[in-house]
Structures are given as C-alpha cells and as structure tokens.
C-alpha cells in the first residue's frame, strides 16, 4: 500500500500548491487555470476512492462544462473592469440563503432513507450498474427534482437575456 500513500501524498501536495496559486496570481485567466487543475486533481482523488464513474463525471461536468461557463462569463468583461472589482460583503443579504436552504432541505427529505439492505456496500461504491439501479429504482424522486433544477436555468436564461438586451438598447 506504499504506492497509494505516496501517490496520495503527491496529489494532495499538488492540491495545496495549486490552491496557493489561485491566491498568488493576479490575472483572472491564471487563477482560472489553477482552479481547473484543482478540479482535475479532484477527479484523480475520486479515482483513488474506487469511484471511477464519479471521477469521469467530475471531469466531464465540472471541467468540461461548468468551468467553461465560468470562462465565458469572465470573457464578458474587458480586462480593465475585472481589475477594479472588490468584494462587498454588505451586498449579500439573507435572502440569498433561502433557495440554498430549501435545496438542502429537499435533499435531506429525499435522502432520509439510507442505502437499502439489498445493495452491498462494496459494489455500491464501485460498480456503475449498481449505482444506476440504486439511483433510478430507489431515489427516482431525486432525479425528478434534478430535472426541474436543470430546466430552471434554461428558463431563467431568457429572462436574464431579455433584460440585458433591453438595458443595452437604452
């Protein structure tokens, strides 16, 4: 097991190194790149937990999709504007936490059952088929919820864009 210890040590030290780099860099594209490496490293860590599907989804969804979304939204600002941005804590109001709290509550409600008896714990972690059956047969309500959560931004997108367009025309 010494190779596992060594490789985990290497990965975690790389993790901290790139974590420090996100603070070190001033230019947003380099900060973004270090976050990207962090996400890939997280995928590798999932591999070490014998969760290979989770690792692949981590890379496909987080690195391939969500970070690209971040990047595009960073491109929306010219470079000079990004330099002047400072955090303003007072703008964060308690209303922000209401949807997050609701989401957490729903997750807890839907996850109130533990893993059923007939799924062995070892297989449950590593075998994709077992995960699939577990998700779709037992926790189908979560999938149903997720569908609404996913279709929400698509509807919100249009409203956001229409407002953006109108303000630009004025």
């Amino acid at each position: 097991m010494i190779e596992r210890a060594i490789s985990l040590l290497i990965i975690s030290s790389l993790f901290f190194f790139f974590l420090l780099l996100t603070y070190y860099f001033r230019h947003f594209i380099y900060q973004f790149l270090s976050i990207l490496v962090l996400m890939v490293l997280q995928g590798v860590l999932f591999l070490y937990l014998n969760a290979e599907f989770l690792a692949a989804v981590q890379i496909i969804v987080y690195v391939g999709a969500i970070l690209i979304m971040f990047l595009f939204s960073l491109f929306l600002f010219p470079e000079e504007e990004l330099k002047g941005i400072k955090t303003d804590v007072s703008r964060i109001s308690y209303k922000t936490f209401i949807p997050i709290g609701l989401l957490v509550l729903l997750l807890v409600i839907s996850l109130y059952r533990a893993v059923p008896e007939n799924y062995s714990k070892q297989e449950f972690l590593s075998d994709i088929k077992v995960i699939g059956n577990f998700l779709f047969n037992e926790y189908w309500f979560l999938i149903y919820l997720l569908a609404f959560i996913l279709s929400l931004p698509m509807v919100a997108l249009y409203i956001f864009f229409r407002r953006e367009d109108a303000s630009r025309n004025n």
Binding site: H27, I29, L33, L36, V40, E52, F53, A56, V57, I59, I60, V63, G64, A65, I68, L71, F72, F75, I128, K129
Partner: protein, 340 residues
C-alpha cells in the same frame, strides 16, 4: 484486472511503453501521410495533380513539411500571454493522443484496459477544448480570440448530440468499454449498430466533422472571415502540433465510428456466414479498412461541400441534431424495453 498482479510492476510498465511506442509510431506515420493523401485526393478531386515534386509521386512531402516546420522561426507575439501561448498547442495534441489509449485495435490489444472507455474520450474532448480557448485568448489578436471562442462554442454544442447518439450505442451494449460494444453488436440482430440506429449514425457522423473542426464545419479556420481562427498567430512547429492534433482526433473519430456503428474488427454474422473466407482477414486489418474509408470520407466531404455560416452551424446543432439524437435514443430504449 489490476496491473502488477501477474508480472512485476516495472515489466508491466515496460510492456505498456512498448505498446504506446507502437501505437504512437503507427498513428504519427498515419497522420503525416494523411496530410499527403488529403492534398493528393483534394487535388485530383479538383482536377489538379497535388504534391509530386519531393520524391517519387511526392511521397517524401510529409518529411519535407516536417523539416520545414522544425526550421521555421517560432514567433510569440509581443502582446501575448507567453506561457499560455506556449502551453495551448501541447494541450490540444496531448488530449488528442491520450484518446488512443482506451481504443481497442484488436480484441486483445488495448493500452489501458479500463471500463470507462467512452467516458474517458468525452472527458479528454472536454479538456482539449481548453487548448483551443486558451490559444485564442492568449494570442493577443482579435481574430484569434474570436476564432477560439467560436471554435469552443462549436465543439461544446456538437458534443451534446455526439454523446446523445453514443448513449444509444452504450444502451445497446450496457457498457462503456469499446470491446464490449463490439462484442454485443456482433451478436445482435443485425450484426452492426447502423441498422437500428441509422439516425444516431448520421448525427454522430455530422458531429464528428464538427468536433474535429473539419470542413464543412471548419469555422475556426474560416479563411474568408477569421484569417486562420485560433492559429492565426502560431507559426513553425507549434502550428504543426495543432495540425497533428487535428489529424489524430480525426483518426480517433473514425475509429469511434467504425467501432461503435460498424462492428469494429468483426464482420456482421450474416456477412461472415455468407462469405466464410472473410474470417481469414486479420481483425486489425478489417478495422483499418473501415477507418481508412471514413478518413477518405472526411477528405471527400472537404473537397465537396462549402462551409457553413456560424449561425447556421449553431442552429443546426441545437434545433436538428439534438432532437434527432434524442429520437434515436428513445427508439433504442423502446427496442430494449420491449425486448425485441
């Protein structure tokens, strides 16, 4: 099947290295000569001759190109982000080559025998997109930035119908491993996946053209509007790395098409029963012939069709290909569910 069980670890690594050397050698040779074949076929399709000065029939042209690229000056524009500018072509090439490690070339020849073959290819495609965006961003030129963004959003939009049409194949085989996909489809009703999933095949083919930035979807290299897109500022060997990446990803796509939809190294059972001598052909050769046909198709389409406009490209992906691939997926799901 973990490494280091039957043999000592360093021997296993040596075997893997030898396998990688073989695969890399074969594919770099093929990529170089695909450039030659493309120029030759494009020439003949336009009633021209193509390259024929260097060596007999111009056969040494790829080597001459390589030497030229190596000896060309490497220019990094003054306003560029230097580090990113230098890393970006390496990213594109690396993530194109890594895809080869999960593709089986023979029932028993595969570099990394992992369960998640298709998913890894999708993951590396997502990572390779960053090479293109960063190349566009870091060049410090307006054409590059626009080309990089366009190319990235093109690849992003075409990855969805691509993976949706692959979902039909995965559903049929119930496995991500490309070897399982071949074995299941050889024993299925039609012998190849094209017949129940003709829609999925067409969508996959179109998306393969768009994913590899080939004509008629070569928007990032649209000479008429964006000079050369994200490779405007690149010169010398760095530009060569981009081209190598493009040609290798072309081969990956051709391999995926022939493995997922045309039975890979095997002939469908009805053809093998009708013509028994086909069983004597070595499996890798069968796969290679299928791949060569699709590479020829890539070149053929480039010689024939004009380029799409950018908004046509996007609306085609979202409005036509995604619904089509979903329909294909639902058909496969119904077939499986009803147990036909």
């Amino acid at each position: 099947m973990a490494l280091g069980e039957s043999l000592p670890l360093h021997l296993e690594i040596l075997i893997v290295l030898i396998k990688i050397a073989i695969v890399l050698g074969v594919f770099l040779f093929h990529a170089a000569y695909t450039v030659y074949a493309e120029r030759k076929i494009l020439g003949r399709m336009q009633a021209r001759l193509g390259p024929r000065e260097v060596g007999p029939y111009g056969l040494l042209q790829p080597i001459a190109d390589l030497v030229k690229l190596l000896f060309k000056e490497d220019i990094v524009p003054a306003e560029a982000h230097k580090t990113l500018f230098k890393i970006a072509p390496l990213l594109v090439l690396t993530f194109a080559i890594v895809n080869l490690s999960v593709i089986p070339f023979h029932p028993s020849f595969i570099i990394a025998d992992v369960n998640l073959g298709v998913l890894l290819i999708l993951a590396f495609a997502g990572l390779g997109t960053y090479g293109i965006i960063l190349a566009g961003y870091s060049s410090g030129s307006k054409y590059s930035l626009l080309g990089g963004l366009r190319s990235a959003s093109q690849i992003l939009s075409y990855e969805i119908p691509l993976s949706l049409s692959l979902a039909g194949v995965i559903l049929y085989a119930e496995s991500f491993h490309l070897r399982d996909i071949v074995e299941v489809q050889v024993n299925s009703l039609f012998g190849i996946n094209v017949f129940p999933q003709i829609l999925g095949f067409i969508v996959f083919l179109i998306c393969a053209f768009a994913e590899t930035n080939r004509a008629p979807f070569d928007l990032p290299e649209a000479e008429s509007e964006l000079v050369a897109g994200y490779i405007t500022e690149y010169s010398g060997f760095r530009m060569g790395l981009f081209f190598l990446g493009e040609y290798i990803s072309m081969y990956v796509m051709a391999l995926l098409i022939s493995i997922c939809y045309f039975g890979g190294w095997a002939f469908p059972w009805w053809l093998a029963n009708a013509l028994p001598f086909l069983k004597a052909i070595p499996p890798t050769l069968v796969l290679a012939l299928k791949v060569y046909f699709f590479i020829f198709l890539f070149i053929w389409v480039r010689a024939t069709f004009p380029r799409y406009r950018f908004d046509q490209l996007m609306s085609m992906s979202w409005k036509i290909l995604i619904p089509l691939s979903l329909i294909n997926f639902l058909i496969v799901a119904l077939i499986k569910w009803l147990g036909v």
